[in-house]
Amino acid sequence: MHRKKSVPLSLLRLALFVFSSTTLAPRSFSEPVLSTKKVSAEPGKPNVTVKMVMRDGLRFDPPRFSAEPGRKLVIELENEDSSHQSHNFLLIRPGKLKKIVESAMALGERGPSQSFVPQSSDILAHSAVLDPEKKSRISVDLPAEPGVYPYVCTMPGHGMVMYGALYSGVILPAIDKDPNIPPTAVQAMLPGGGRRPFIQRMFLPNAGPAAIAVSLPGKQNFCWDAGECRLRYVWSGTGVDPREHWRGNGKDLAKVPTSPWWNAPIEDFPFRFGSPSASVPKVKFLGYRVEAGLPEFHFKVGAIEVFEKVTADDARGVIEFHYKVLRSNEALFYRASDAEGAKWASPAGLFKGGVLELTPAQAAQFSVTLTGPAIH
C-alpha cells in the first residue's frame, strides 16, 4: 500500500522527494513537530525535521517554528488545502520577505516555468509547485547567523498572506504579538479565531476534566469547572492556547498563557444554604445559555437551581458574578475570602469573615465582585 517513489530533482541545493499522498497523517494547527532523527552527516548535530502543511485560507501550518542555527533542516511539505489550490514554499533570508514576494510577482508569464520562484541569493531553499494532496520534502543547511527567516508561498496572489517565520536562535514572542506571522494564521489557532467573547470546552490545567474556557470581552479570561459548577481561576490577556490539546488525541492539556491572578480555593464551593457551617453541597451542572456571546451557567446546588453569569469591567477593574437563585426559602451564605490582593464585595451587603449573608429575598438575585491586582 505504501508506494514510495523517489523522483529526485536537482533544483539548486534542494533534494525533493515525492511520496504517495496517503501515508503520513497531517496534524492540525501544530506547533512545530520537531523530531530529531539521527541521519545527519554531522555527528552530534542531528537533523531537525518539521512538517509543514499548506491549508485552506492560504495558510502554512505551523505559521512559525524554531530551529537551531547551523542545523540541517528537513521540511516535509504537504498540500492539504481543501480549496484545491497549488502552493510552493520558499525559505528566505531575514528581512527579505517583501522583496522576494515582489520579485515573484514581477515574473509575470515566466512564473509557471520556474515554479514562481525568482532568481535570488536571498532564497535559502524552495520547493516546486505542490498540487493539492501532494507531498514533498526539502532540506536546507540553516545559516549560522541567528535570525527570523521568513517562509512564503509565491504563487500569484498568495505571497501577501501565506507566510510564516522560522525562528533560528531567536526567542519567539507571544503568538498573538508576533509581527512575523499573518493574523489569519493566529486566528486559525485560537478558539473562535481569537474572537471575544468565546466559550471553549477543553482540558485545562488546574481544574477538573469538564472544564470550560471563557474569554470575556476586553482582557479577562476564566476557567469554569462544569464538574464543580464554579469558576476556578481568572487570568488577564491572551485567551486559552488550545494547540497542544488540539494537535492530536487530547493527551496534552490546553495552556493558560499567563498565570491566573485569582485562583478559587481548593475543594470549596461558595454557596451554603441555611447555615454558614452547612457541609459542602452537592452540585449538578445543567448547561449554559449564551447571550451576546457570554455564558450564563445553570446548575443545581442541592435541590436549588442557580444561574451564574460572569462579566468583567476592565475600566473599574472588577470581575462581577451575577447570580439568580430560584425558589429558595433559605438564607444563603456566600463564602469568598480575600486573598492574593483580590478583594470581594457585593452591593447586597458586607462580607464578614469571608462570608456574605443573604436573606432568601436578597439571594434571589444578587451579585458579587472580585477586584484583583492585575486589572487596571
Binding site: V7, L16, H84, P112, R201, G208, P209, G287, R289
Partner: protein, 514 residues
C-alpha cells in the same frame, strides 16, 4: 489552473489507477471502481479544522457535522454551503437531530442538547442532558454516540482509558478502588507500573459500557459492558444495536458486536462497575470465567486484511442506485481507504456474519470515521486525532449498476451459501475455483492476536443455483469460533468479469442444524 504547472507527482497519481486498456478488456483497479462509485471531495466549512467527529443526515436533505475543534455545522447540498450553528464543544463524536430542530451531541464530558431558542439559527442554549459518568481526564476516554433505538432511547458508548497515559489529579465522579492504587497513577514510576493498570482501564464510572439514556429525563441505565473503544454505534435494519470495537487487549482482531441488554462483550476492565461484581481485579480473573460471561463478536474484521479500526455502522439506503445492497450494513475504517459491507444473520439465537469490501480506493484516503446517507449519496467524514487517518469530507455516489460482487452469505450445516450480484460462469461449479482459509483469533489479554490454527481448505462440493446467482459450497470441516476467509478471485461472472471485491470473511459462531 493547477494543470498549467508541471507536477513531479503526476506519475505517482496515475500509478494507483488501472484505467481501461485500449484492447477493450474491462477496466481494473481504480478505473473499474470509478465505473460503479464516484468519489468526490467535499470542502468543509472554511477556516476550521476539518477532522470530522460526527455526521448525520437531516430529514430535509441537509447534513449536520461536528468537528474536532468543537464546531457543529449544517451543510446545504443544494447550495454547497456550510453554516456553523454551535461552537466550543469538546471533541464531539456523535450527533443526532431531534424533533423541533434541536440536536443532541456527545462531547467528552456530557451529552448536550443544542437549542436555538430565538430562531436565529444559532445555538444559544447548551443544555446538559446527561453527564453522570466518570472522567479521569485520560485522553482515551472518548464518548461515542448517541444513536436512537427503535423505542426512542439513546445509546452511548464510553471508551476505556489507556495506559498510554495516566489520569488527571482532579477526576469527575467515583473512583473504583479495584486495581492499581490511585497514588501509583501519580507516581514517578507511572511508566513502569502502567501495565499494572491494565493496558486499557476503567477506574471511573461506566467506562467500557454502553449506556441507555432517556433523552427527556436524562436518566441513564447501564446497558452492556465489556467494550474497549466502541467508536461506532448503529442499528441494523431490524433494530439490533451494533457496536464496533478496535483490535487491542482482549480483542484479537477488530470486531462488530450485536449488543443486547446486560451483555458482556469481552473486555474485562468494565466489570468493576457491575452491581454484582465481587471486587476481583479484572486482570486476574481466569479467562474461563470471562469466557463464560461473554458474548463473542458477531463479526471479526481480520486485521491487516479487512479493517484495523472499524468505525460507524450505517444502513445502505434502499434506493434503485444501491440495488441489492440496500438495507445492508456499511462500516468505515480508519487505517485503510476502505468501506466494508457487513452481512449478518442469526443462527439459533447467535449473531454471526461476514465482512466484505464495498470499495477499497486510494481516492477515499484513510480515517473514514463517520458516514451518513442523503438519498443515494454517502457522505464520509475523516479524522485522525494524530493516529492513522486523514481529514476532510468526501462523497461517494453509486453510478447506477452494482459491480459483480458477492451480495450475501449464509452458513449451512456443511458450508456456505453465497449470493452474487450477477450470475456466475459455469466454471464456478468447479471446487478448484474456490479457496478458503480457516483461522481463529485468541481471546487474551495481549494486544491483538495472530491468526491461529490456520488451514487452507478447498470445497468438497459446489452447487450453483438455477440462476447461477447463488453458489453453495461444502467444506471438509466447519468449526465454530473460526473465520472462514473466502478467496473469490478465480470466480467469473457470466460475462467474464472478476468480482470487484474478491474476498470475504465469515465469522462462524454457530453451525446450523439444518
Amino acid at each position: 489552473m493547477k494543470t498549467l504547472y508541471f507536477s513531479v507527482s503526476v506519475a505517482v497519481a496515475l500509478s494507483a489507477s488501472g484505467f481501461a486498456a485500449n484492447d477493450g478488456s474491462p477496466p481494473s483497479g481504480e478505473g473499474r471502481i470509478s465505473e460503479h462509485y464516484k468519489v468526490a471531495k467535499l470542502m468543509g466549512p472554511p477556516g476550521i479544522d476539518s477532522q470530522v467527529g460526527a455526521l448525520v443526515a437531516l430529514e430535509d436533505g441537509r447534513l449536520a457535522a461536528a468537528f474536532h475543534h468543537g464546531q457543529v455545522a449544517i451543510y446545504e447540498p443544494k447550495e454547497s454551503s456550510w453554516k456553523i450553528i454551535a461552537e466550543g464543544l469538546h471533541e464531539p463524536l456523535g450527533i443526532l437531530p431531534e424533533k423541533g430542530g434541536s440536536f443532541l451531541v456527545m462531547q467528552r464530558a456530557e451529552l448536550t442538547r443544542l437549542r436555538d431558542t430565538d430562531g436565529d439559527g444559532l445555538t444559544d442554549h447548551y443544555e446538559t442532558v446527561w453527564d453522570d459518568f466518570g472522567l479521569s481526564g485520560n485522553y482515551h476516554e472518548f464518548a461515542f454516540g448517541p444513536v436512537r433505538g427503535p423505542g426512542g432511547k439513546l445509546y452511548v458508548g464510553l471508551n476505556l482509558a489507556s495506559s498510554g497515559d495516566s489520569i488527571r489529579k482532579e477526576i469527575r465522579g467515583e473512583w473504583s478502588p479495584i486495581g492499581l492504587p490511585r497514588q501509583e497513577f501519580y507516581g514517578a514510576n507511572w511508566k513502569k507500573v502502567s501495565d499494572k493498570a491494565g493496558r486499557m482501564y476503567s477506574r471511573v464510572l461506566w467506562r467500557g459500557w454502553i449506556m441507555e439514556v432517556d433523552p427527556v429525563s436524562g436518566n441513564a441505565t447501564p446497558f452492556a459492558s465489556g467494550l474497549r473503544s466502541p467508536d461506532g454505534l448503529g442499528f441494523d435494519s431490524e433494530g439490533n444495536l451494533l457496536v464496533s470495537d478496535n483490535q487491542g487487549d482482549w480483542r484479537g482482531s477488530s470486531e462488530l458486536f450485536v449488543v443486547k441488554k446486560d451483555g458482556f462483550y469481552g473486555h474485562p476492565a468494565s466489570l468493576v462497575w457491575r452491581k454484582d461484581w465481587d471486587g476481583s481485579e479484572p486482570l486476574n480473573v481466569p479467562i474461563s470465567r470471562l469466557d463464560a460471561l461473554r458474548t463473542p463478536a458477531a463479526v471479526w474484521f481480520p486485521h491487516n486484511i479487512y479493517a484495523n479500526s472499524p468505525t460507524q455502522p450505517v444502513l445502505i439506503p434502499k434506493t434503485p442506485a444501491w440495488g441489492a445492497f440496500g438495507g445492508q450494513v456499511l462500516i468505515g475504517e480508519m487505517n485503510s481507504p476502505r468501506l466494508l459491507r457487513v452481512l449478518m444473520e442469526e443462527v439459533d439465537g447467535v449473531w454471526q456474519g461476514a465482512c466484505v469490501n464495498l470499495v477499497d480506493s486510494e481516492t477515499l484516503k484513510r480515517g473514514l470515521h463517520r458516514l451518513a446517507f442523503i438519498g443515494d449519496t454517502l457522505y464520509v467524514g475523516r479524522t485522525h486525532l494524530s493516529w492513522a487517518g486523514a481529514e476532510g469530507l468526501v462523497t461517494l455516489r453509486p453510478q447506477g449498476t452494482l459491480p459483480f460482487d458477492p451480495l450475501d452469505i449464509h452458513v449451512t450445516p456443511h458450508g456456505f451459501r453465497i449470493d452474487f450480484t450477477e450470475p456466475l460462469s459455469a466454471a464456478a461449479a468447479d471446487p478448484g475455483a474456490w479457496s478458503v482459509e480457516q483461522y481463529t483469533y485468541a481471546y487474551h489479554i495481549a494486544y491483538g492476536s495472530p491468526q491461529m490454527k490456520k488451514e487452507s481448505l478447498t470445497p468438497t462440493k459446489v452447487r450453483l443455483s438455477n440462476s447461477n446467482r447463488t453458489a453453495e459450497i461444502e467444506l471438509p470441516t466447519l468449526k465454530e469460533n473460526f473465520v472462514y476467509d473466502l478467496h473469490l478471485d478465480a470466480l467469473r461472472s457470466e460475462s467474464g468479469t472478476a468480482p470487484l471485491n474478491a474476498r470475504m470473511a465469515y465469522t462462524l459462531r454457530k453451525i446450523p442444524q439444518k
